[in-house]
């Protein structure tokens, strides 16, 4: 242990003795590691906002719609589809909406022509929908059991629609669905993974059946899978809903597209990584070169150390340790520099900084490895020196 401490002490002393030279050969590992950390950090951070959004939204939401099999118009899911899907063990929550066709929504007296031409979708929803979507109610409340039991004519507006109608939070507002007045009880926050819902009006199952004479069969289902089981649940839904006739149910994972676009540009990343490795390799050559010269210049020191009893292997190790310390400090400095560059560029470009700190030991280790490799030749040269030849006796 004390031998190791002595070795490290001597190596650090040797490095500090020639500060300018040490800084110069440290540039290789510094630039190399900074380039690699920067390459990965910048390419990842460029997509950082998407990644952050993906983290926030999660990747566990699955939607299911009735397939457009031949001979079916306005296809719907079976009435007990939600119950069946909930039977899948990995499903945490599920909810369904039923589209109510042919309803004209009027937010106020005027604009009837417009809203007849571009009708607002009206959806019959159950009480669990916000929980499945993991989206809060922006103001007011969601449709609940009391609305169904008491047969209230209550609606919840999608976040986008509320903005469009100019709804002030807390405002008492009535809208007209096919001439029937409905009270707005709440506004659902926007649903980034399912923007269709932002412009919808949500009513209860009772209202759909009573006021608009539909059967209220679900047209779309929202399923939340347990973390990590999305694919598995995705595959299980058609089986659960229609016992294997998979063409009758179409599933989709809304986050998949986002996930794909959040992938960093691999080609760019690899190119920059390669440039970093190249810098590291060239830096290694620099270390080997400068240290070889250094061994010649320090032959008297080597000779005297050998005369004082230091063995060949310890002399070699001393120079190897010098290379190691150069690689280590250079690597750490490069990592810090790389992180700084990523943070700076991200701040300027308005990116979310994405840096995998767990990779830092790998980058620094790479720098140390290259430096030690570069130090092998000069170290061997130092160890081979004959003390008698370097001490100039007589």
């Amino acid at each position: 242990m004390s031998r190791f401490r002595d070795l490290l002490g001597i190596a650090i002393g040797g490095i500090l003795a020639r500060k300018a030279r040490t800084l110069l050969i440290m540039l290789g590992p510094v630039v190399g590691v900074a380039a690699m950390v920067g390459a990965v950090g910048l390419t990842e951070s460029a997509k950082g906002d998407l990644k952050a959004r993906l983290d926030e939204l999660g990747t566990t939401l699955i939607t299911a719609e009735a397939g457009t099999a031949f001979g079916r118009q306005n296809p719907t899911l079976p009435a007990d589809a939600v119950r069946r899907v909930r039977a899948i063990p990995a499903v945490e929550r599920a909810s369904a909406v039923a589209e109510v066709p042919g309803v004209v929504t009027l937010p106020s007296e005027g604009g009837a022509d417009y809203f007849e031409t571009f009708p607002v979708p009206v959806l019959a929803a159950d009480s669990r929908l916000p929980a499945v979507l993991e989206v809060p109610v922006r103001s007011g409340r969601w449709l609940d059991r009391a609305d169904r039991v008491n047969r209230t004519r209550a609606v919840v507006l999608g976040g986008g629609l509320a903005d469009e109608f100019g709804l002030i939070p807390g405002e008492v507002r009535t809208i007209r669905l096919n001439g029937i007045d409905y009270g707005v009880v709440g506004v659902l926050e926007r649903v980034p993974l399912e923007p269709n819902l932002d412009n919808a009006v949500f009513i209860t199952q009772w209202a759909a059946e009573n006021d608009f004479a539909t059967e209220g069969a679900p047209t779309k289902m929202y399923v939340r899978a347990a973390p990590g089981t999305t694919e598995q649940v995705d595959a299980a839904i058609p089986v659960a809903v229609s016992l294997g006739s998979s063409d009758s149910v179409t599933t989709r994972i809304p986050s998949a597209a986002l996930e794909a676009s959040a992938q960093a540009d691999r080609t760019l990343q690899q190119t920059a990584l390669f440039a970093g490795l190249l810098a590291l390799a060239v830096g290694g050559l620099g270390i080997a070169n400068v240290m070889s010269i250094s061994v010649l210049q320090r032959s008297a020191e080597i000779g005297i150390r050998r005369a004082l009893g230091t063995t060949r292997s310890l002399i070699g190790l001393q120079f190897l340790a010098e290379a190691l310390v150069v690689g280590l400090i250079g690597g750490i400095a490069g990592a810090v520099l790389g992180v700084g560059v990523v943070a700076l560029v991200s701040a300027v470009a308005g990116w979310v900084v994405v840096i995998d700190l767990a990779m830092m030991p790998v980058w620094i280790g790479l720098a140390v490895g290259v430096a030690v490799l570069a130090g092998l030749y000069p170290s061997a040269k130092a160890a081979r020196l004959e003390p008698l030849e370097t001490l100039r006796l007589g």
């Binding site: 003795a17 020639r18 004082l308 006796l393 007589g394």
Partner: protein, 250 residues
């Protein structure tokens, strides 16, 4: 002509050359040392003198276990150096021998203290103990107040005294000095030789390789060499080192 030393003989043998020869090169071999036999005991204060090319340096290499004879044996404190591996010879040097060189050979980027401590590296010593012993050695050569100076901040004489401190800090049985005053002016040479006089102790052998007869005069035994052979080995009464021009001939 081989006269056994008659000085303070009786100490244990520290160093023995038995029929040692050293030949350099193979195609045109140079016989630097021919069949030399020499015994150095504790208490010997020995000067090896001779003109350049007489084999002094080769001898020093063999005595210092920096080199091995091509024939014969070099035995240091009972170890036949030819039979030792390279690492073992390194350790033997570190344990038994202290070197002082004409060119001092201090490590330029270390302080005086650091240079002395160099001799104590890889010995499993605690840092504090190493420092303490190095400071004591510096005090012994009168340079305690120069501990933090680098070699360039020291005069030649001071550098050589640091080198002596480095040589003795390990308490070696054998001190080898190669022209220790060769690069010094007279005043500093006197100082250095004073220290050597103090180093000559009964449990230690001190070997000075020199061509300066005034240095040889300070020893109790003089080995003269010529053409790779020992031509005389005589005991004498040591006289103090005398500066040039003082009118006293050695």
């Amino acid at each position: 002509m081989h006269t056994p030393a008659s000085g303070p003989v009786g100490g244990e043998p520290l160093l023995e050359l038995v029929g040692a020869s050293r030949v350099f090169g193979q195609e045109a071999p140079v016989h630097a040392l021919r069949d030399v036999t020499l015994q150095v005991r504790a208490g010997d204060h020995l000067a090896i003198i001779g003109p350049s090319g007489s084999g002094k340096s080769t001898m020093l290499g063999l005595l210092g276990v920096l080199d091995r004879p091509t024939e014969g044996a070099v035995v240091v404190t009972g170890h036949d150096t030819a039979a030792l591996a390279d690492d073992e010879r390194s350790r033997l040097r570190g344990e038994v021998i202290g070197f002082v060189f004409q060119q001092f050979h201090l490590i330029p980027y270390l302080t005086a203290l650091g240079n002395v401590e160099t001799a104590l590296c890889y010995r499993g010593l605690a840092r504090a103990e190493r420092r303490e012993r190095a400071l004591a050695a510096l005090a012994e050569v009168g340079l305690a107040d120069r501990a933090d100076h680098r070699p360039v901040q020291l005069s030649g004489g001071e550098q050589q005294r640091v080198a002596i401190a480095r040589a003795i800090v390990t308490e070696p049985r054998l001190v080898l000095a190669d022209e220790p005053t060769g690069a010094l002016d007279t005043v500093n040479a006197v100082l250095v030789m004073d220290i050597f006089a103090r180093l000559a102790q009964a449990d230690r052998a001190l070997i000075l390789v020199t061509h300066d007869p005034r240095i040889a005069a300070t020893t109790n035994r003089v080995v003269s060499m010529r053409d790779g052979r020992i031509v005389s080995d005589v005991a004498q009464a040591p006289t103090p080192f005398v500066a040039e021009g003082s009118g006293v001939a050695p």
